[in-house]
Symmetry: C2
Subunit: 521 residues, 2 copies
Amino acid sequence: MNSGKPLEILHQIDREYCCLEKTAAVLRWDQETYLPPGGVEERAEQLALLEGIAHERLINPETGRILAELGSVPENPRGDRTLPELERDFLKVIRRRYDRAVKLPPDFVSAAARAEGLSQAAWVRARGDNNFTLFLPHLKTMIDFARKRAEYWGFGDRAQNRNKAQGGDRAQTLYDGLLDAYEPGMTSSEIGALFAVLRERLTSLLEKIKLCPPPDASFLKQNFPVERQSAFNQKIMDYLGFDRGRGRLDISAHPFTTSLGSHDIRITTRYFSNNLLSGLFSVIHESGHAFYEMGFPPELRGTCLADGASMALHESQSRFWENVVGRSRPFWKACFPMLRECFPGELQSLNGEAFYRAVNEVKPSLIRVDADEVSYSLHIILRFELEKRLIGGELEPERLPSVWKDYTREYLGLESETDADGVLQDIHWSMGSFGYFPSYALGNLYGLQILEKLKKDIPAYETTVAEGKFKLLYNWLEESIYRWGCRLEPGELLLNITGERLSVNPFLDYIEGKYSELYGF
Amino acid sequence: MNSGKPLEILHQIDREYCCLEKTAAVLRWDQETYLPPGGVEERAEQLALLEGIAHERLINPETGRILAELGSVPENPRGDRTLPELERDFLKVIRRRYDRAVKLPPDFVSAAARAEGLSQAAWVRARGDNNFTLFLPHLKTMIDFARKRAEYWGFGDRAQNRNKAQGGDRAQTLYDGLLDAYEPGMTSSEIGALFAVLRERLTSLLEKIKLCPPPDASFLKQNFPVERQSAFNQKIMDYLGFDRGRGRLDISAHPFTTSLGSHDIRITTRYFSNNLLSGLFSVIHESGHAFYEMGFPPELRGTCLADGASMALHESQSRFWENVVGRSRPFWKACFPMLRECFPGELQSLNGEAFYRAVNEVKPSLIRVDADEVSYSLHIILRFELEKRLIGGELEPERLPSVWKDYTREYLGLESETDADGVLQDIHWSMGSFGYFPSYALGNLYGLQILEKLKKDIPAYETTVAEGKFKLLYNWLEESIYRWGCRLEPGELLLNITGERLSVNPFLDYIEGKYSELYGF
């Protein structure tokens, strides 16, 4: 038992599985960037075949046999002491992947993939036509598939057992099953507790801000030629230290980061000539994701351990670079002259301070991706509440558009006029991704809690940012976060770094401090 | 027997195999266009895994069992009359693929793939450093693998049998085995016979041209900004009728065409600011390849029949568009004003006739890809002679650089100074592609022989080109060539169209006619 041989086979299976996943990532990246319209259908077939083969590799009987042979994961998270720590972490993670995969019948997986394809296409049409009815049947199907998936993963059963024993809430637990896929170890009741405080304090901060005069951001309403935006963004990537030997920037309808290989991490952005900030902050945001992916150490590369600890941890990194660094005063003091060089006419009479104030204007918007740092999390809490109820069966999908409007009024104080700018604005549900949204807001929490420790270790943090010595920050993040890959669950990782459990306070302290100074109260 | 069921299974295997091949094409396209340098190694692993899986799918025992069950291919090329013609052609082609694949041991295939990767990398370095010695060991390995491959395919054995019976030349037959992979049914002795006439008449044509004053092509020596070259090439694609909904143009170090799907045919080109013609004629050439791939009919798409009849047939199409159409007088009479619009300063005092004369300047060059229409085939004949002798073991790889120089002097009347511009100029041998080169010259022959028939069917051919009514030509080619995919072998296809076997005369008549008029003798 625990001999080298079966473990070797498991590593081989894992390497091939990961390699096929990266191959699929190439196809997906191409789909979002350069695929001609005629190729869409066949690309879906190629991806389905590839995903099917990858799935088969992972769930082949050999994997199950070896995992059984190597024993079950002990309660002690660092496991059996006869194996090196890295191998124990490998076993823990591959077992988790295997369990998740093997529990889903192949027919279910391919039916879900097909349905997601149709659903996304319907969502695109529905959003274009501002017609929720076109999307409704697909939304229902996506909800059914999501519930079914959580049931296959055993969350339905577990819930039923709890129902019997404790009279628990079955539906809630199905949603927990979905959450767990993105945020291992996190439950909806924990999130609910964090989000309650978050909502209260952010709402009260928003109230105060509304009473103050806004900064002058009128200069952002100019036309910023896309070629020059693109040229500046290339500069910013270099300035942040993005290694072009191991990645690149392209354009897609929705910005994203993807790993096509351990040394091939690609980010995308999009440009609007009437919006300088959208393309720019997407590049900084996605660079943050890319740094995480680039930072996995050699021994994890090409294995299941070369992954973020969770969606939220990943988001903590993108949001750290985008907001904490990228929307900070020292950053723009240093960068603004570079930006003004690209737009000498448009920005001639301005300075870094004015730009800093403008990019931090708080102005609640109907659109999540346009939201400022203060109201952003409210968009997420709204979606969390709605998707929890959709999966729980407490909210009929038919009623979603009107409930969405009610929530938007209640959470953001805004009147949502169209469904296209309301319930249809995000792609997530159309892809069957329920339980994903909370990651965005949790990412803010993780990021700022981690920053507190970073500032203790690098007391000259502000100067570091002002002087563009990002390598120092990168090294700290690499040592604290990146090098672990997904060996630790997000909670463990945070405990490791800060000695604390996840809290809303560092984020709220940061945001209240920053915006009370900016708005002068 | 011959029931629908096994045939259905065979179709399923074929569809998956083709789908995996297209997937690999996505990875290769990306490798040549956008892959960051860091991703090179892992991409090679991804491709090796994918090719391995595709290979396994094709050679699984089921394929062999079904092929055996469905009987062997009858001598009559149209086969067993109880099956529809399309199914018989499918069986013929998949059997050929299966036989080729199953005869190569998996270990050999993966060892060859790895060695090709190393060899290509060594060739890049060797060419960069003008150092043949760096490449020599890899060239030897490539020759060994090529010989071994032909032996696995049974050409060694067949040759040995012939040796016994007829005292034939074993080595020659190994090379025939390699040729056959690119040009089904063609032998090196047939090619040798065609090339002998070709060489004689082209050499004598070159002699005559050398005595005449060259056209004025000095204006081509200007600087042509790459952005404007690119803009014009996009226009030319549209003018030729390239369907952007089903394909696209990108940039790579070496121009190529690849099918990433039935409706996703991509071409590439490269730009040099001091060479207007290189990027431009590459686009027209690759568009010719793309039209062929785009023209396969619905019933062949996604199957092994959606392929060119042979490398040479494919090349006949690219060369038809590049040379016969793209370097013709009526074409430039019509297009030149469009080109001058993009380069008003550079081309202001010129007209279509002057441009036509300049792009057809005959000027033997050391570099194959820079060669004019007259000397091009001589480059090919040279390579054919050398690779035949390399595979046959009559030429020691060590002696290749000096023999290359001798041949260059003899065939082209040029002194080759460096190996980088000599024996190291082409990638083919570094990839183990022996037997590929003849396709280029055979393509010229096929193309012009087919043109004779096209002109009979479309007597207004010249006007058609002058008026840019390329849809008429496309439709004729679709009906005559494209729609067959690889259902017919190249010889059959040519017979089908022209009623004749392959001949050098149409090409030589065309080229002697065109250049005696141009050079005035």
